[in-house]
Amino acid sequence: MESKKITDKKKLKLAIGLGSTCSGCDIAILDLGVKLLELIGLADIVFWPTVFDFKYSDLKELGDKEIDITLHHGTIRTTEHEEIARILRKKSKVLIAFGSCSCFGGIPGLCNLTDKKQIFDAVYGENLSVANKENIFPEEKLLINKNKSITLPHLFDTGKTLKQLVEVDYFIPGCPPPMQLIEGLIPLMKDVLGGAQLPEKGTVFGSKKTLCDECTLKKENKMISKIVNPVTAIVDPERCLLEQGILCMGPVTRGGCEARCINVLMPCRGCMGPGPETEDQGVKMISAIASILGVKDEENLTDQQIEDLLSGIKDIVGTFYRFTLPDALLNRKVKERR
């Protein structure tokens, strides 16, 4: 094996594996720039299909726990994703869910609002741009010739997070994870190399507080009287967006991104996932909004006025669960009513 040849005894073995992903996470790692050289100085890369020409067979040849650190990104959507995730777990000492998809399901996790059949019907049938008179749908088993067939991975109805499948040691959230968190890998790798005490299992990289803590906008009073659209609203660039009626997920989202969206006056979408003391990011935000929206004049509101207030929230799941639907308490749409 190529990688074996250049292995220095003092170097770690690093793998980067994936599920359903946009590969933004790979780009984020490459974006490390100079730090990437430092990283490569500490570890040999034994698996990273996006960037190098690795095959699954390379992975399978490695011994159990031979990989020191694995970064896994992407949602688990297919049997292939599942298989790779399980292999990576077996072969790795430290398995890290990297990026919001692997941590909480991420954007692909919104698939839990539908199922395989609905997706296939849309993509291969109903979409206006599709011409499929013969009604041909992808099949898992494909006959190449009389003697040979290949099997495509099976697409699950439900997207899953990495930890719903295997034990995960650490989580690095973000869509993609912010640079300063990825850089945190370097001290971690040094600790692994030096045999130092590692962080507690289950540690999530990022702040111990929610985003509002690091957001520098002026906070005055969080009671809001209506919800406004961030695109059409005239935004006061100094003042907390939520206080201006813009649905900002900052209050329920783990800090650590240094408020990169807020800094360009876009409300937080919640990609860093729930804060450290929150089980379900969306529910937490819903109950916070329910507590502060229109409370000033609460007793005098008519049902219609309450409905009008709530109609400011255009897409409930897309707003409150954009990155965490598979990780939520109610994590998918009912498939079939009993």
Partner: protein, 651 residues
């Protein structure tokens, strides 16, 4: 591992009639960490409680679930039960399988049984995570504040002071007494209210334990039961009450004449005035809106007439602060705002008056010395029409409630009128007559038989002036006849409403009121003199329309509640309160504004929320709202709630 015991109550047939309790006991006994489960006829009975105690000892239980009625009924009972055998009381939980199960599923017994099992299992999950808790103890300041010096406030102050505790009585007027002092005679005995009330007023004035702050209002209250801090505004009276002896010379010579509020605008008072001769304290105040010196810059006659140099035109409002442990609110009532009544010519015709005005006309010490000369021309009215339920029991226009006392005072007034004008005739238009009190019905019958009061069942449709008469058109629904009376005087029994400013005060004190502004009691049947906020008690018409006997009874009730509060040196506060995880809190301030008890403050320095445990009532509002998850309600931590939800979600 917990060692949990589950005790399932039949509640006679209340539960067992619907839920298969034997089956529930059997199923639950297999649940994880349950070491004993049984059922019994009445868990709250002595043998039921003894059974729990025995089993705690025998099976070495460390947590107990009683599946029975709502925790609001017997939670305390069973917590005390297990505490008596050495268990931490907060390791006892109630699974409500009555109100939330058997009573609502009477027709579907199987579902009810299944649901009872789920409810119990969920509570077991909660119990598994229940920490043993210790109540907080807070010291008690053994002084009471009474707000409002009507008969309710007077009675409550005297009762508390007689038990040996200090009382601060705050009255907004310059004298205590309230509406009772305006009355002519009182039903059902027709005794003189001044004769029975003024001795009590004097006692208040003289009592060494009562500090009377008249012409004062509560400005601000902070703190919590046992430890309130009260800021009181002493309104400028422009008379130095320390120097003033109440001689009254100042009033005699004052040239400004103003309609008298105490006499319900039927006579004039001076700009410097006391409410009535027996006032306590008997000190005048200057009404700066009407005083010639204040309005025109000239006069100061009163100053010249006061040999003690007590008049002080420079006086300003001042403030005093007092620490008290309990507060009684006795701010009384007013009659419905005159401007509100559109019909009946009230405000338009001088001879259409309200009940309190007639009280003043009939009062021996009133402006007409008890002879009801009518306001317009001073004639003695020969035909008087009383109209009941004006504004009351009229949900479409005014108030849906019954003012409760007007039926009675109308009989009374008609009677006293007849005693003053024996050849006069009193008519009463009524919807129905409500005279349900001791001696009340007899009183009514006396009025009808001896004083020949004519009761007409029906409403008045029109009132208009006809010469010096007032024509009243109405209907007698019992005979179906149209009625027309040429009256000399019309008296409206107007609805009683909370006193002016009571709503504002309630907001200041964080007390809840009903839709009309009457203070809400903690429980309409079982806790009628307490408010929902610990440390506040209610007395008199501020809570609901009521007559004097009822007012006095409630005042004594409130006073004895205060006495029992003061009988302890320390108060125990439920440990079911919110806690902040300062590592997680970002100081967003949502909790601070939402807490209905103002228990939370954002620490400006640390930028985190701080909870005053003695103020927190454990309502959980903040915990639901806190977006960061920094807040947890002890006994209802997220882990507990989630594990309960998981039981129910599992199918």
């Amino acid at each position: 591992m917990n060692r949990i015991g589950v005790f399932i109550c039949h509640c006679g047939l209340n539960i067992a009639g619907t839920v298969d309790v034997k089956k529930v006991a059997k199923l639950v006994s297999d649940y994880s960490e349950v070491v004993y489960a049984t059922d019994y006829m009445y868990m709250c009975s002595d043998p039921g409680q003894d059974m729990i105690k025995e089993m705690v000892k025998e099976k070495k239980l460390d947590g107990v679930v009683v599946a029975a009625c709502s925790p609001t009924m017997h939670e305390t009972t069973f917590r005390n039960t297990i505490a008596s055998v050495g268990l931490n009381p907060y390791r006892g939980e109630i699974a409500n399988i009555r109100e939330q199960c058997s009573w609502v599923h009477q027709n579907t017994k199987e579902i009810a049984t299944e649901k009872a099992v789920k409810i119990i299992e969920a509570i077991i999950e909660k119990l598994k995570l229940d920490k043993p808790l210790v109540p907080l103890s807070v010291p008690v300041t053994k002084r009471a504040l009474v707000i409002g010096g009507g008969i309710a406030g007077i009675q409550a102050s005297l009762d508390i002071a007689d038990s040996g505790y200090e009382v601060i009585l705050v009255e907004k007027n310059q004298s205590i007494g309230g509406h009772m002092l305006q009355l002519s005679e009182t039903f059902p005995t027709l005794d003189c209210p001044q004769c029975i009330a003024t001795p009590k007023m004097v006692q208040v004035g003289q009592h060494p334990k009562i500090k009377l702050l008249a012409f004062s209002e509560v400005e601000e209250v902070s703190g919590y039961v046992g430890n309130f801090k009260v800021k009181i505004r002493r309104k400028a009276s422009f008379v130095d009450w320390d120097k003033c002896t109440g001689c009254g010379f100042c009033m005699e010579k004052c040239p400004a004449k103003v309609p008298s509020e105490f006499n319900e605008f039927l006579s004039k008072r001076k700009a410097i005035y006391t409410l009535f001769p027996q006032a306590v304290p008997n000190k005048p105040v200057i009404d700066s809106n009407n005083c010639l010196y204040f309005t025109k810059g000239k006069c100061r006659v009163c100053e010249k007439n006061c040999s003690l140099k007590a008049i002080n035109f420079e006086q300003k409002d001042s403030f005093v602060e007092e620490n008290v442990g309990a507060i009684i609110v006795a701010t009384g009532y007013d009659l419905m705002n005159k401007a509100e009544v559109g019909e009946y010519g009230y405000g338009k015709y001088k001879d259409v008056i309200d009940g309190l005005q007639l009280e003043r006309l009939l009062a021996p010490a009133g402006p007409t010395e008890g002879i009801p000369y009518r306001p317009s021309d001073g004639k003695i009215p020969k035909e008087v029409v009383f109209i009941q339920c004006v504004g009351s029991r009229d949900p479409e226009h005014y108030y849906p409630y019954c003012s409760k006392i007007c039926c009675m005072y109308t009989v009374k007034q008609a009677m006293i009128y007849k005693h003053a004008v024996p050849d006069g005739q009193a008519y009463v238009f009524y919807m129905d007559i409500r005279c349900n009190g001791k001696g009340y019905e007899e009183f009514l019958q006396r009025g009808i038989e001896e004083d020949r009061i004519l009761y007409l069942r029906g409403r008045v449709s029109k009132i208009f002036k006809d010469g010096d008469k007032i024509r009243v058109w109405g209907a007698d629904t019992l005979t179906g006849r149209k009625i027309e009376i040429s009256a000399d005087l019309v008296v409206l029994a107007m609805a009683m409403v909370p006193s002016k400013g009571a709503k504002k005060l309630a907001e200041k004190l964080r007390l809840t009121t009903d839709d009309y502004g009457f203070l809400t009691e903690a429980h309409p049947k079982l806790r009628p003199v307490e408010s929902l906020t610990a440390g506040y008690f209610l007395a008199g018409a501020a809570q609901a329309p009521k007559d004097i006997p009822e007012t006095v009874a409630q005042a004594s009730g409130a006073a004895s509640k205060v006495d029992s509060l003061f009988s302890k040196d320390e108060l125990y506060h439920e440990p079911i309160i919110a806690n902040v995880d300062e590592e997680v809190c970002v100081g967003c301030g949502i909790c601070e504004v939402l807490c209905p008890y103002e228990a939370i403050e954002i620490d400006e320095q640390d930028k985190v929320a701080k909870i005053n445990p003695a103020l927190c009532e454990g309502c959980g509002t903040c915990c639901a709202a806190c977006p960061s998850g920094a807040l947890e309600l002890e006994g209802f931590r997220r882990k507990q709630i989630l594990s309960m939800i998981k039981v129910f979600a599992e199918v």
